[in-house]
């Protein structure tokens, strides 16, 4: 069970995502943005960070990296893809997910332990959770406000594609408190908070983040 973690210039949480994959029991494979080969991985994580400095718009330049064509093709073919924070932004910019992520409404970067409710337990990355389960994982972003037009939001809700929602506070002005969404098929998930920083009780607020990685491992495993 190999999970690829893509490093773009400016990726920061790539080693953390690889660690999370290992702790969850998978094999992490480092993928380079300039490659046009997924090296046989079963799933891909697009990690957090500031790809290309995010100087233009978060994820806007990374979308055009050679590896992204492979990721897009794989995703269209059903391969599980998880975009965390900057990875979520890249998935939206690549049109694998609807909507966009905008500047936090309070205009500051924010780093906090965030309570979420898991709203969908059928996507490739959320089957380990119980419906309605509440978890706490770190959130850290400057441009995490999820926006989409009302029709898109209604469709996301109606199809059960909101996978997690912010509880207690909405840390960035996201529409309808949305913290993460998935595509129609449920294999592509974008998540603003960082599950890879909640996999060891030593360094994270909880180990609640592990569930995202064990979900995909069980799915990839059972499909074999």
């Amino acid at each position: 069970m190999k999970i690829g973690v893509v490093t773009f210039p400016g990726s920061l949480d790539d080693r953390d995502a690889a660690r999370a994959v290992r702790i969850a029991g998978g094999e992490a494979v480092a993928l380079w943005h300039g490659d046009d080969d997924l090296h046989g991985v079963d799933a891909v994580v697009l990690p957090g960070g500031f790809s290309y400095g995010d100087y233009l718009r978060c994820g806007a330049i990374a979308r055009f990296a050679p590896i992204m064509q492979q990721v897009v093709d794989g995703a269209r073919g059903g391969m599980p893809v998880l975009g965390i924070c900057n990875g979520f932004q890249i998935l939206c910019e690549s049109h694998l997910l609807p909507g966009a992520l905008t500047r936090n409404d309070h205009l500051h970067f924010i780093c906090r332990d965030q309570r979420l409710r898991i709203e969908n337990t059928t996507s490739a990355w959320t089957t380990s959770f119980a419906a309605g389960q509440e978890i706490v994982i770190p959130l850290k972003n400057g441009e995490g406000g999820f926006v989409a037009d009302d029709a898109t939001l209604d469709a996301l809700e109606g199809e059960g594609r909101v996978i997690a929602r912010y509880l207690e506070i909405n840390p960035n002005g996201s529409r309808r408190d949305i913290a993460g969404i998935c595509n129609e098929r449920g294999n592509v998930v974008g998540l603003m908070p960082h599950p890879e920083h909640a996999v060891e009780s030593l360094t994270g607020p909880t180990t609640d983040g592990l569930g995202f990685f064990t979900s995909v491992l069980s799915m990839v495993g059972s499909s074999r």
């Binding site: 905008t102 936090n104 926006v147 002005g173």
Partner: protein, 82 residues
């Protein structure tokens, strides 16, 4: 040499917290009657040689794909010197 200016703005229906913050600050600093502020990006692009129709078309495409995100933003492109 050609010079092109691209302005990118959030679509009107998208909340613009930066613009709102500026609007508040203008008011506090004594400018009255500001009814709206929107903040966007302003790109000044210089190219060598003339802007032939191929490059103009490429620029237009990239303004919509790279410089702006059509889900939330609109752009205007102005050729200052062809």
């Amino acid at each position: 040499m050609a010079r092109v200016i691209v302005d990118v703005m959030l679509k009107p229906e998208i909340l613009d917290p930066q613009g709102r913050a500026v609007q508040g600050a203008l008011g506090r600093l004594g400018l009255e009657g500001v009814t709206s502020v929107r903040q966007g990006k302003h790109f000044v692009i210089e190219l060598d040689g003339d802007l032939d129709s191929d490059r103009a078309a490429a620029l237009d495409r990239l303004a919509g794909e790279l410089l702006s995100n059509p889900v939330i933003e609109d752009f205007t492109l102005t050729v200052v010197d062809a």
